[in-house]
Amino acid sequence: MNSPFGTQKQAGGRRTMSSGASNAILLLPALSLCMIFIFVPAMLAISGSLYSYGLTSPTRDFVGLGNYIKLVQDSIFWVSLKNNLIIVFGSIVLQIGIGCVLAAILDRGITFGSTFFRTIIFMPVIVSAVAVAVVWLIILDPNIGMLNKIVQSVGLTPPSLGWLGDPKISIWIVLGVAAWQQTGFMMVLILAGLQGVPQERYEAAALDGARGLRAFWYITLPSIRNILIVAVLITTIGGFKVFDFVFVLTKGGPANATQVLGTYTYLQAFTLGNLGYANAIAVVLLLIAVLIGWLQLKVSRQA
């Protein structure tokens, strides 16, 4: 070697780790945390659903599929599942729909004040759902609440049983409060997608005669397809995970009208002490989770 700078000495003792070992070191902390605190409890929930036992009881009795038989006959379970679906689809319509409209206006409709509006509308996202629910609890109060006053001031009659007391409308109020908080998130998510659409594409569309709503339909929406898929997935997952809002706003009431699978699991487990039965409800949630996870992989691979 006749390099003018001399030969670089190879450090003799250095022995790099095998690729497998270093993969393991980097991967295992995350993987084992997920395994221990998500998958092991999930397995335990499945096995626990075959027993009958209480939170404080020292023993457990094997009941086979007994809890599941009880489950399919339990009208509150079906109400809970229905409510989850209402929240999932309602949120997709409200949060993504309104979020889409607001984002489109911010992206191309207005210029002055767009940062201001974006900031305001996103604000509730970072407030905890519990705090949001407590504030709304007072706004929705049938005796002194602001909503009653507003509704009365425009000449309408507020529901006599109260916004959260009427089983026919309480779940829609929960949905509305969730939309109040989450729409800003969807708006900003979609806005990020919109801003990635190159200006030339709109110019080409304008030359082809597509402007305004037609441009939105034919150019904008297809361009942000991936982000809309992500938004739908996040909303769907969130719709099945929902707990805090319901827990604070209604505790599942009135008379279980707003019960969702999450709060019903909690009620059965920790209030009524039926852990085995609670596990059976949880297994249904887990099955849904696996289904969504699978869908997520499907579309993300496609996207």
Partner: protein, 378 residues
């Protein structure tokens, strides 16, 4: 034993064989350029040398050491990447010294090495800057400097100039040549640009589909391509090729029938000519610069395109019914190179004189069966 011995390298990606049993050796101080079309395996081969790809089988011996399974950093090689691959979060000096730092050298030693390399490349003024503040050419220098700093046994270049504009590329070619001379280092250089290969290489390796087509000095390859692929790959504009058939042959001459031309093309044969027989189909090759006005065997043609480059002129002519075998061209035109300016116009009729001394013949397998008679400059 040579400085670098590459023996029976095979690289499979699943069922796809990227490198098919390749062997060659490199002497110390050589500047080897590997060329070939994209997907020919040249980059894979280079990355295998660097250790960035694990080879399926074969061995690599560098300076007597078997480095086949060594970690990239332990092989004594340095690599310059096509897009420079400079660390954006480090200064130029840190970029250049990172390898030495990782090897555990003292700060002072690293500094000395970096400054020396920077001086060589005239980037001393930029040492404290971040890569994004530099121009493309400067970044390229830093990337080379990073390699130099490590004083490797072998420099590996992966299309290092392809991101530069034409004039900068020409300048860097010259500089790399100087650098090679100055360092006296062994360099292996991958490019798809035959100009780079011709101008810089001590030896060129032409790769195609995972196989080595030919190894040799630039002129050897230009004048004596082992096959039609190599002949076509080197030279710009590309060699003109057209079909012919051997009408008659003996030890000294061959008479070739070209469809559409009444006169046969008479070719002299010599000891380096390959086996041919009467009735064989052959491909006739003639380089654009070999076509002249004086050769007795002529093809009538019409000028289609003229490219006046000032010092020289290229023009493309339609010699229908004789078609060149250029798969990419819509109208297979003959390319003609004149080392002067011409006054002809598009549409003018001319005759292409094909001197038999300049003719290549390739058999149906693509092997060269007749080389041109080498004309050495006076």
């Amino acid at each position: 034993m040579s400085f670098l011995e590459i023996t029976n390298i095979v690289k499979d990606y699943g069922a796809f064989r990227a490198i098919n049993d390749v062997s060659f050796s490199v002497e110390e101080g050589e500047f080897i350029v590997m060329v070939g079309p994209s997907g020919c395996g040249k980059s894979t081969l280079l990355r295998s040398l660097a250790g960035l790809e694990d080879i399926t089988s074969g061995s690599l011996i560098l300076g007597g050491r078997d480095i086949t399974r060594d970690e990239p950093a332990d092989r004594g090689v340095a690599m310059v990447f096509q897009n420079y691959a400079l660390y954006p979060h480090m200064t130029v000096a840190q970029n250049m010294g990172f390898g030495l730092k990782m090897a555990g050298q003292s700060k002072a030693d690293v500094k000395v090495a970096v400054e020396r390399a920077a001086k060589t490349l005239r980037i001393t003024d930029h040492l404290h800057k971040r890569p994004k503040m530099l121009s493309g050419g400067q970044r390229q220098r830093v990337a080379i400097g990073r390699a130099i700093t490590r004083s490797p046994d072998v420099f590996l270049f992966d299309e290092p100039l392809s991101n530069l504009d034409a004039s900068l590329r020409a300048q860097m070619r010259v500089e790399l040549g100087h650098l090679h001379a100055e360092l006296g280092a062994t360099m292996i250089y991958v490019t798809h640009d035959q100009v780079e290969a011709m101008t810089m290489a001590s030896r060129i390796i032409v790769l195609n589909g995972g196989d080595i087509e030919q190894i040799g000095t630039p002129l050897e390859l230009y004048n004596k391509p082992a096959n039609r692929f190599v002949a076509e790959f080197l030279g710009s504009p590309r060699i003109n090729l057209f079909d012919g058939k051997i009408a008659a042959i003996n030890a000294q001459t061959a008479s070739i029938k070209i469809d559409g031309i009444a006169d046969h093309l008479e070719i002299s044969l010599s000891s380096d000519s390959g086996p041919m027989a009467s009735g064989d189909k052959v491909t006739v090759g003639i380089r654009p610069e070999s076509i002249n006005d004086t050769a007795p065997w002529k093809i009538p043609a019409k000028i289609s395109v003229i490219e006046s480059l000032g010092r020289e002129t290229l023009f493309y002519v339609n010699a229908d019914p004789v078609k060149t075998l250029d798969p990419d061209a819509k109208d297979p035109l003959f390319a003609v190179h004149k080392s002067n300016q011409i006054t002809a116009q598009i549409g003018d009729d001319i005759s292409l004189g094909i001197p038999q001394e300049g003719v290549f013949l390739f058999n149906e397998a693509g092997e060269t069966v007749r080389y041109p008679i080498t004309q050495t400059a006076p």
